[in-house]
């Protein structure tokens, strides 16, 4: 389990990194936290010819609150996000999901940008970013473009990034008052990828009925999967056991899990139902608090 040979470059600036990527295209890979890429290289499942190390680019590690949004630099590590007050107060859904991602030593290296670019549909954070309706800002030698979370994840380990593009920033909207969020998952062991996970956000109108609901799932298909119909059906409704159950039933039909050695498809679907109901009720409680 030793990696195949590659050329290593540690660019000193973003421009340099982008130039290298433009030069080598698919042959090159960015190295962020390395917590997914290096295992894949050790198994020789990934054999990039060139590795562009982003770890020297401190300018890509930041959390900024601006107006109604929070902007996160791609190289911000989980460890930092977990301890960041802005994330804790304004992006509580992510804060709740982060402890479920791997273990402390992995979180000391892993980055948000690396996680989203890796686009593992079983990962917690793509579902979180999808539920939050985030926008992903890509950069290349040619310029910059914004991609919605919905469009960013296109398949298993596949994103909308072109082969000269880097994910530079993640922009997340802050929910209005009377909003509550909840992240829940069931994993085999703490720190494992979830067998099923749900990221949920609920916003209430003045009367206490749902005005906006977001539901997104991890390990529920080839990408993080949203359940727009279930979310839509809750609009204008009060959340109680019955409405939560109905929505959960609907969501179960919207996801497309494919099962694995740990969980059958039926069990995954069943979990999605249980977790949806529980998460909706919890998020609702938080929205009212």
């Amino acid at each position: 389990m030793k990696p195949a040979p590659f050329r290593y470059a540690a660019p000193a600036s973003l421009e340099e990194a982008l130039a290298l990527k433009a030069e080598h295209g698919d042959e090159a890979k960015f190295l962020a936290g390395g917590q997914s890429l290096v295992p894949a290289m050790n198994f020789r499942l990934a054999q990039p010819a060139v590795l562009i190390d982003l770890n020297g680019l401190d300018a890509l590690a930041y959390v900024k609150a601006e107006g109604g949004t929070v902007r996160i630099g791609a190289m911000t590590r989980y460890h930092t996000l977990q301890r960041d007050k802005t994330i804790g107060s304004k992006v509580a859904l992510m804060a709740e999901a982060l402890p479920e991602v791997a273990h402390p030593a992995i979180r000391n290296r892993g980055t948000l940008g690396g996680n989203l670019s890796h686009a593992d549909p079983a990962s917690e954070l793509p579902a979180v970013v999808l539920a939050l309706g985030g926008t992903l800002h890509a950069r290349s030698k040619k310029g910059a473009r914004a991609i919605t979370a919905k469009d960013f994840f296109v398949g298993v380990l596949t994103t909308a990034l072109a082969n000269d593009e880097l994910l530079a920033e993640i922009e997340l909207p802050v929910f209005p008052p009377r909003s509550g969020t909840c992240f829940l998952e069931v994993a085999r062991r703490k720190g494992d990828y979830a067998m099923m996970g749900v990221a949920c956000a609920v916003t209430l109108d003045a009367g206490g009925a749902c005005s906006d609901v977001h539901l997104a799932y991890c390990n529920a298909g080839e990408t993080p999967v949203a359940a727009p119909k279930a979310a839509q059906a809750l609009k204008g409704q009060r959340l109680d056991d019955k409405t939560a159950r109905d929505a959960a039933e609907m969501a179960k039909g919207e996801i497309r899990p494919f099962g694995n050695v740990h969980a059958s498809v039926d069990y995954q679907r069943h979990l999605a139902g249980v977790l949806t109901r529980r998460a909706l009720i919890a998020a609702y409680g938080r929205a009212r608090a």
Partner: protein, 789 residues
């Protein structure tokens, strides 16, 4: 005499080195001009090799040699059969042992086909990738029943069957006895594959020193002496020319003993051929294929009981998955067969097993070594019987216990050590009493309805087992007092974390009156001790421990004799303590052991006829048969009925392993065993597809329990010494792991009230997903074979 250390929770001698990263493990061996090996392993479970092209690999810079089976010439031989089948009437055994490199047909995924040796492991892996093997894939033999019924598609074509062995053992006459039974229960039980997964993988470093004419091999083996002897024979060397060192080993648990692994055969050969040292360290991916597995069995079992719950007999017919080869003989299935009987009187027993070759990695003992399967079947049958007879689960066990006055108790069948299965000693009722009290059995059952009403799904489980431990053949030990006053102790077994550096030192320290820290223990170096079998079957403490005790006693005598001459007094007037001998009651008359050691080995003057120089002795111990330990585990578990995830609320172990040398080390052994049992029960499963491909060959997907999955355990002991050895000890290495499967099944069933819904958990491992499926499959269990009169 010094304060006795035997029986005390002495801190370990080896820890200071281990804690500072100063202990030598095999991969830590660095030698000048060291080469590195990697293997090309078959991606297919079953395939014929049509051709191998190594030309590109040979051309790669840094590659030193590339070998296929053809290059081995006469050295290519199937490995030895480690244990022939026991002398049981009518036994069928087809011996097929593993080969160093595959010649014609691959029999399991990961089987080694080509050996690549290069300047470093990175290049060796590059070159392994250059090799092109032309395979003709064959349908794989995976499923046990299909393997049994196969008319074509054999793992070993020449056998024209996949049967590796067939054994029937009986006691009494079950067929006759069953007619008088009030209750007969028949069920199918499945126990799937797992792997031992030590955190250190296997590894071998081989060095040929042409000038010294000697081969040195560092090996992660549990049995260095066997490896030395085998290598010497294979390589046409004298045993004196081969030194095998098993240094610190990062966990063994059984599979590190499967001598000979292909790598153990090939590296020494190649090191001699190339005249350069070579290292091979198994990587974690290789480990899932190249190190042996355990545990696939399918039982069709039946129990007959009287109306008051007494066992009349048990009948069991089971299939055992031995993998592609069977070098370890019948140890695992015979353990299952024998251990099923448990602490109970089973007047009639009829057990038949068929071991089958499959296109999966080889099966050899892993902690428990088949015992857990037997325990699973018996304990589940008793749970079901208790339900049918409306009896309490603890009570049905209690009334069937072998009474304390019935020992030695002869089960009238043959055990894995070829000796009759006779339990040496035991007293089971006190274990049960302690366990029930510690878990709060009665109180829990009283509270359970209220918990249930409050939506808490908690259940309790209670499982009994016995464990045959400390089997022969023998071990030896050499104890020697050095001029420095320190005492050295050498034994032939290897150690993999069991604390032998301390527990053996305790035995010596007490005999010769030195501090435990002054006893320097060497294990697993064939140059230090010539003879031995190895560390397996919970035998280290029992067999080697008694040899150590005996040798230390002889040295004590020699010390006393030398000191008596020194002081010109009688031996009876002398006392040993604090590393010195003193004349009792005469202050100042004290001589240090080191001085006596020198006096016993004088530079002038002859050693008297009939005496030997030095304060040294070597002794051997071979028990006539194994000592039988026993125990009970109990737990309370809470299940989330929607997600089928668990939380273990309480876990109790009460154990009787005879006399205890070091309770600290014993507790550690039990904790570790339970953790492996928990893994086996609820987390760990090797999942093969129908092509024999392992689907979860990584630590991310083969789930060993973490600190959050293993509960805090409460331990208690009873002590029934073994009459079979002077120290009275019984082994404890495997006890923790054996009963956990049925315990989980029972407690989870209870928590979810499954039996009331016609659902039973008769398979291991469980998982949330599987549990959900089973619990949802209401009333699918065939209970038609149950009859209660």
């Amino acid at each position: 005499m010094s304060t006795r250390s035997f029986g005390q929770p002495i801190k370990r001698n080896e820890d200071a080195r281990l804690l500072q990263g100063k202990a030598l493990f095999v991969d830590d061996v660095e030698l000048p001009r060291l080469l590195h090996a990697a293997f090309v392993r078959s991606p297919h479970a079953h395939a014929r090799i049509r051709g191998i092209d190594t030309s590109a690999a040979k051309k790669r810079a840094g590659v030193v040699a590339v070998y296929t089976a053809a290059d081995l010439g006469d050295y290519w031989k199937p490995g030895p059969l480690l244990l022939p089948p026991p002398p049981i009437e009518g036994v069928v055994f087809n011996e097929r042992t593993q080969v160093p490199l595959v010649k014609d047909k691959v029999r399991h995924a990961g089987e080694p086909v080509v050996l690549v040796i290069a300047e470093d492991r990175y290049i060796a892996e590059d070159a392994a990738g250059d090799v092109v093997v032309d395979y003709e894939a064959l349908p794989a033999v995976v499923d046990l029943e299909k393997a049994r019924d196969a008319k074509t598609g054999f793992v070993h074509d020449d056998l024209k069957t996949n049967v590796a062995a067939h054994v029937r053992q009986t006691k009494g006459d079950y067929a006759k006895a069953v007619a008088g039974a009030a209750c007969v229960i028949k069920r199918r039980f499945l126990y799937d594959r797992g792997t031992s997964l030590p955190i250190e993988t296997r590894g071998v470093v081989a060095q040929w020193d042409g000038k010294a004419d000697r081969l040195t091999v560092w090996d992660t083996t549990q049995a260095p002496v066997f490896i030395r002897n085998g290598l010497a024979a294979m390589l046409n060397l004298s045993e004196r020319q081969v030194r095998v060192i098993a240094p610190f080993i990062g966990g063994g648990f059984g599979p590190k003993i499967m001598m000979f692994y292909p790598e153990e055969v090939l590296l020494p050969w190649a090191a001699m051929k190339l005249d350069r040292p070579i290292k091979w360290i198994e990587d974690r991916f290789e480990h899932f294929f190249a190190t042996t597995h355990e545990r696939g069995q399918l039982h069709d079992a039946e129990i007959a009981l009287s109306k008051d719950g007494r066992i009349i007999g048990v009948k069991d017919v089971f299939l055992h998955d031995t993998g592609a080869y069977d070098p370890y003989g019948l140890t695992v299935p015979i353990n299952s067969q024998c251990t099923l009987l448990g602490p109970y009187i089973v007047p009639n027993y009829d057990s038949t097993f068929t071991a089958l070759f499959t296109n999966k990695p080889i099966v050899t003992p892993y902690r428990g070594a088949g015992r857990q399967h037997g325990v699973f079947v018996m304990e589940r049958l008793l749970d079901i019987a208790a339900r049918e007879l409306k009896m309490d689960r603890a009570e049905i066990r209690r009334i069937n216990f072998i009474p304390p006055d019935a020992f030695p108790y002869d089960n009238q069948i043959i055990y894995q050590d070829f000796a009759p299965l006779v339990y040496d000693s035991g007293n089971y009722q006190p274990i049960l009493d302690k366990a029930l009290k510690a878990i709060g059995y009665k109180q829990f059952l009283e509270e359970q309805p209220a918990l249930r009403a409050a939506g808490k799904h908690q259940g309790i489980g209670l499982v009994c087992y016995v464990e045959g431990t400390g089997i022969g053949p023998y071990e030896g030990a050499k104890v020697q007092v050095q001029g420095s006053g320190k005492v050295s102790l050498a034994t032939g077994i290897g150690t993999q974390g069991q604390g032998h550096y301390t527990s053996f030192a305790q035995i010596v320290a007490d005999q010769v009156g030195v501090a435990v820290t002054d006893v320097d223990v060497v294990t697993g170096d064939t140059d230090q001790f010539y003879w031995g079998a190895g560390t397996f079957a919970s035998r280290g403490a029992v067999v080697a421990g008694n040899a150590v005790n005996d040798a230390a006693k002889v040295v004590r005598q020699k010390i006393l004799r030398t000191a008596a001459e020194h002081f010109e007094c009688a031996e009876e007037d002398l006392a040993l303590s604090n590393g010195a001998v003193s004349v009792v009651g005469v202050p100042g008359k004290t001589v240090k052991l080191g001085v006596l050691a020198d006096e016993a080995n004088p530079m002038r003057g002859a050693v008297k006829p009939g005496t030997e120089p030095g304060l040294e002795a070597t002794s051997y111990f071979g028990p006539e048969m194994g000592a039988t330990a026993a125990g009970i585990h109990a737990m309370i578990v809470e299940v989330d009925p929607e997600t089928c995830t668990l939380e273990i609320k309480k876990y109790v172990v009460v154990h009787d392993c005879g006399t205890v040398i070091n309770p600290l080390i014993l507790a550690g052994q039990i904790h570790g065993g339970v953790a492996q049992g928990v893994g086996n029960a609820f987390y760990e499963q090797l999942v093969f597809d129908d092509r024999g491909q392992l689907l979860n060959a990584s630590l991310a997907d083969y789930l060993i329990p973490t600190a959050l999955d293993v509960p805090r355990m409460t331990l208690d002991h009873t002590v029934t010494p073994s009459p079979l050895n002077p120290l009275g000890i019984k082994g404890a290495g495997e006890a923790g792991a054996i009963p956990v499967g049925p315990l989980f099944a029972q407690a989870i069933e209870d928590a979810l009230g499954l039996p009331g819904q016609g659902v039973e958990l008769n398979e291991i491992p469980l998982s949330p997903s599987r549990l959900w499926e089973l619990a949802g499959a209401l009333a699918k269990i065939d209970t038609s074979a149950t009859r209660v009169r």
